[in-house]
Subunit: 295 residues, 2 copies
């Protein structure tokens, strides 16, 4: 199966699982639920849950074991998008080519839908923990713990990003934003897949480095696309970062240097997983996909 | 020890624990942390953590065992206050006599501080689960599960409340708001204390009814205070609900009827815990305190 087919297969699994898990609140008003569903099912790339599953499959075949964590991470990702798009933060009108949540519904609904999605991630995790076998609990509690602290880092990264909008930024802070705002969750995905599959310490270290590198690459590519991407393909306006004087790799180092950095980082990520051979083909292609994507 | 002294003793415990647990993020910018701390330490009544501890102490003496859950619930409560106060929801300027979070800092910081507090509650729970004895895990996973679904109900209740602001409301929806927006968390507090203390099914049922009744009473009293409370003591403007045409017990049933209902409900709550005699004295006084408080 080639990479694109594999990607689609994974995306289909994620979409099916998300639809199953999306909390049917007893709420007499369904709009809150509709609003969560609107963002969750609006056609994201599903990169995070796919990373969980593909890493798990380096070691084991029963990938359904990590579905709850794949679902939970996608909920958290969408919570963060909804809140970042709010008028009080980035004030964005479009996401994935559709109106952002607060534009489609209203601000109050978007704030609460974001809150709801973050909390629903923990509903999903808690349900999985409750029905887990005793011997699986140690590793799952480790995963739950890393989940909570990674989300903490994501929120802190978003905060620093917001705080530095329109201001001159030190390299140290730009690194902090990238390591945390996007990096923490991507790192978590790979580590969750690996830990749930009972991998050993050496594998965990290598995969963590792979994840950290593609996380950084993902952010650099995002910055590049925000500068020179195709608006129609991206589904959101291009040049916004410049207009808002956002601190990005491109604004700091220039387009050429950013692209060079991206190339080096992706190659370093791929080196980490070379020892797995054929089995890691998808993760290798995924790294290249991050480098070459146009949306 | 009389009720007021006991209340202060509990409040001191909660404040100490909160200060210990408040996540010290590695974030290079401390404002997000300051913003979480600002709301968390701004002098709330600590009713929720106190309910957890006082219920636990009906059955057991080692109250420190439930500290993490007492802390987590207060974090969630403060997350909900910060987000409810936002311009996009209730747009309130004062809370506990001080500027609301977004007034003190800014909107982006308040959104992210709320997100951070919700997530920090799960950090605290996850840390406790990781170091729990194997034989305690069943009940703690039950508590974690009820925690997640109660927060879900709280968010849904807040949503319906927001949705009906300024509109004619059916009794069914008003009940829904009160059972969920405030009720779900108070019910959770009592159930967490009881479950963590290994109480039996019959006790859990009685205490759940007690909690549901004081939750309803708390909301009715809130509505009454919003109508005829003392602004200086309350620390927030009075008459706001009327101005915003908020749906409340008072707007629906009138002040006199609301007060009668409050009295009946509190007496019913107290009946549930009579069988515990002296040991339940604090919970009884707490119910009366809810009825008679002036802030």
């Amino acid at each position: 199966m080639d990479f694109r087919e594999n990607l689609k297969k994974y995306q289909k699994i994620v979409n099916n699982e998300l639809e199953k898990y999306l909390r049917k609140q007893e709420c007499p008003e369904k709009i809150l639920n509709n609003s969560m569903e609107y963002s969750l099912m609006s056609g994201g790339k599903r990169l995070r849950p796919i990373l969980v599953m593909a890493t798990y499959e380096l070691f084991k075949n029963d990938v359904e074991k990590c579905f709850p964590y794949a679902v939970a991470i996608e909920m958290v990702h969408n919570f963060s998008l909804i809140h970042d798009d709010l008028p009080g933060i980035d004030d964005d009108d479009f996401r994935h080519g559709k109106p952002t949540n607060h534009k489609q519904f209203n601000e109050a609904t978007a704030i609460l839908a974001g809150d709801g999605l973050l909390n629903n991630a923990y509903i999903v995790i808690s349900e999985d923990l409750k029905k887990s076998k005793k011997e699986d609990l140690d590793k799952k509690l480790q995963v739950f713990s890393e989940f909570t602290t990674s989300v903490d880092r994501m929120i802190a990264g978003e905060y620093v990003d917001t705080e530095y909008e329109g201001k001159e930024i030190q390299a140290e802070y730009l690194d902090y934003i990238h390591r945390n705002k996007t990096g923490a969750l991507l790192r978590l995905c790979v580590r969750m897949g690996a830990i749930l599959a009972d991998c050993n310490r050496e594998d965990l270290d290598k995969l963590t480095t792979y994840a950290e590198k593609i996380g950084l690459a993902f952010q650099i590519k995002d910055d590049i696309l925000s500068e020179e991407g195709n608006e129609e393909i991206l589904g959101k306006p291009v040049g916004n970062d410049k207009e808002k004087k956002k601190c990005t790799y491109v604004s700091k180092y220039g387009l050429k240097e950013a692209k060079k950095k991206l190339e080096v980082i992706i190659q370093y990520a791929i080196k980490q997983i070379q020892s797995y051979g054929e089995k890691a083909e998808f993760l290798k292609e995924l790294a290249l996909y991050i480098q070459n994507r146009n949306k």
